[in-house]
């Protein structure tokens, strides 16, 4: 199990009801992690509508998770 820090923006923040959390996970890739979170929080967006960044750098969904990573999921937003 690894512990990672998550930050949520926009709809994800609203649906998770928090702007961030620490989770322990057995997921090995960002993609698997997101699917795990999606099931838990009921996120309406699929991963292909999102950008993901790890430790303040945009990343591929296939990237392997490492203990202590800070992960940000970013949907496009439209308000103005």
């Amino acid at each position: 199990m690894m512990t990672v820090t998550l930050q949520y923006y926009a709809q994800l923040r609203e649906q998770a009801r928090t702007s961030g959390e620490q989770v322990s996970t057995s997921a090995t890739s960002l993609h698997d992690l997101y699917e795990e979170l999606r099931a838990r929080h009921g996120f309406s967006l699929s991963s292909d509508a999102l950008k993901v960044a790890v430790n303040a750098q945009f990343s591929d969904w296939s990237r392997a998770l490492r203990d202590g990573d800070t992960i940000v999921f970013i949907p496009p937003v439209a308000g103005g």
Partner: protein, 520 residues
């Protein structure tokens, strides 16, 4: 005697009337406002005026003086009641005397319109049912705004000379920077929550030409975040309001307005008239369109958007090799995915902050101020006060599938095709004459009730996917009752590469009825 007075009790009108006697006056015009027994469908039994007296006296005096100067009348006075009034009581009295009647009428009208518009007077209505309400001054139509010439206009002030000293004092700006701003042409798409601060700061800074595109009229729900506008502006076109405010803020700025949203057919041309574009709409489709036009024209674009308490900012430099919006999110998400201020809510200062950041990015680009050399998406969270700057690696974006320019061309082509789907025809003969094969996609019962009276194929919309091969190769016009089913079917078929399929906009409902047409 002063030109404007407030009275807490009924007053002697004969005295007011006498005070306006003037040997040079050949006409006198008076206006009286009375308390009416109803307002907006509710029975009223009386009302109460509450006044911010100091301000009302000063402003009232100014209004009457303006009218005297504007129309060259000899004497004028306005009296406004305060306190409790009953049905039929005199609420406002205005009298004007002048050499000729025309100026007297017009000055009278000017005074009442401006009084309604500008005076800090609140009206509390007492309804017959026993309840009360404070009534805001609704938007007032002001006749004098529509006057084209005045024989007696007096120029009020010397020409305005802008003073940019607070910004030219900055070493990086100076007179040379100010000259760059004066020569700059900036297009602001959207005059809403983001657009208001952008327009305000760019006009204040002395950007020579500001273009404004917005198709909306001001709604009361805009006012918490759209700081260029007032409650009295509700219902007016935002481009007109914004242009007026900018002219008031800095008359040195040239404003160009367009109340039609840009589309795939004209956006590249429009971008070509500007040096920089700031995208301030609440519409993802518009952002992608602007991104593609920026890439294809090489005109830099500043994108921002907000969601509830947070926002995103991205500067698209539109230089070859630099990343664009599609490098982050290659395709425009489906409708409803990205949220909007209407659905998701937003606190007013959130677009205020992001719009102000767009304004500073615009000034940095125009003035060539130092900027980070890499490219990033900036995320701002105003609830916890954090921001994240995420560098964008252009090599991992559009470059992996043909480059930004290729993606932009594809995007514009698709937007243009989507725009071509719905076609307007007043009658079906015109469609046939234009070379379209008609395909009726309604159900049998609908057709029996309202036949097309024109040669057509019949494929119900529910079956059109499996019968697509039966459609002719030439241009096809799908027809349904309202244009909705035919539009959905046309887009579905176009998604399969059948770009010759169109939909009758508005459907059968918009066709001129057969019996009204001249038999031929």
């Amino acid at each position: 005697m002063k030109h404007f007075s407030l009275a807490s009790d009924a007053i002697d009108l004969a005295r007011l009337h006498a005070s306006l006697q003037h040997p040079g006056s050949g006409g006198f015009c008076a206006f009286e406002g009375w308390v009416r027994n109803s307002n907006e469908g509710r029975a009223v039994q009386g009302l109460e005026y509450e006044v911010y007296a100091e301000l009302a006296l000063a402003e009232g005096e100014r209004i009457v003086e303006e009218a005297i100067a504007r129309y060259g009348v000899n004497a004028a006075h306005c009296m406004h009641r305060t306190g409790n009034l009953a049905i039929g009581d005199l609420a406002v009295w205005i009298g004007v005397s002048s050499a000729h009647r025309d100026e007297a009428f017009r000055a009278c009208r000017y005074i009442i319109d401006e009084i309604k518009h500008r005076l800090p007077i609140w009206k509390k209505e007492h309804y017959v049912e026993g309840d009360t309400a404070w009534v805001a001054c609704a938007h007032t139509y002001r006749e004098h705004e529509h006057e084209h010439h005045h024989d007696h206009v007096h120029e009020l002030a010397a020409p305005f000379v802008p003073d940019y000293s607070r910004q030219t004092r900055l070493r990086e700006v100076g007179e040379a920077g100010q000259a760059k701003l004066a020569a700059a042409r900036v297009l602001v798409i959207g005059a809403g929550g983001l657009g208001c601060p952008v327009l305000t700061y760019l006009a204040g800074a002395g950007v020579g030409t500001l273009g404004i595109v917005d198709g909306d009229r001001l709604d009361a729900s805009n006012l918490h975040r759209q700081t260029l506008y007032d409650a009295r502006d509700i219902g007016e076109r935002k481009v007109d309001l914004a242009a007026r405010r900018i002219a008031a803020l800095n008359p040195a700025v040239t404003v160009q307005t367009d109340a039609e949203p840009l589309h795939a057919g004209n956006i590249v041309d429009v971008f070509g008239h500007y040096d920089l574009v700031v995208e301030c709409t609440d519409d993802l489709g518009s952002r992608y369109l602007s991104n593609d036009a920026a890439i294809l024209t090489g005109i830099p674009l500043i994108l921002a958007s907000v969601y509830q308490y947070e926002g995103q900012l991205q500067v698209v430099t539109a230089k070859p090799g630099d990343p664009c919006l599609r490098c982050l999110w290659p395709q425009e998400p489906a409708a409803g995915v990205a949220g909007s201020c209407i659905e998701s809510g937003v606190l007013g200062p959130v677009p205020g902050v992001l719009g102000s950041m767009q304004a500073i990015e615009a000034l940095k680009l125009l003035l060539d101020l130092p900027r980070p050399t890499d490219h990033a998406l900036l995320l701002i969270n105003l609830l916890d006060g954090t921001s994240q700057r995420l560098p964008i690696d252009a090599a991992r974006g559009c470059a992996m599938h043909g480059g930004c320019a290729e993606a932009a061309r594809r995007g514009l082509t698709m937007a243009q095709a989507a725009r071509d789907v719905d076609i307007v025809f007043g009658n079906l003969d015109a469609a046939i004459a234009a070379g379209y094969t008609l395909v009726d996609v309604r159900e049998a019962v609908e057709i029996a009730a309202q036949p097309l009276h024109a040669v057509s194929q019949w494929i119900p919309s529910t079956l059109i996917g499996e019968h697509a091969t039966e459609l002719p190769a030439g241009p096809v016009l799908l027809v349904c009752a309202s244009g909705r089913r035919s539009g959905v079917a046309a887009r579905m078929l176009r998604g399969q590469g059948m770009l010759n399929i169109h939909s009758l906009a508005g459907g059968v409902a918009t066709l001129v009825p057969q019996r009204d047409r001249i038999a031929g």
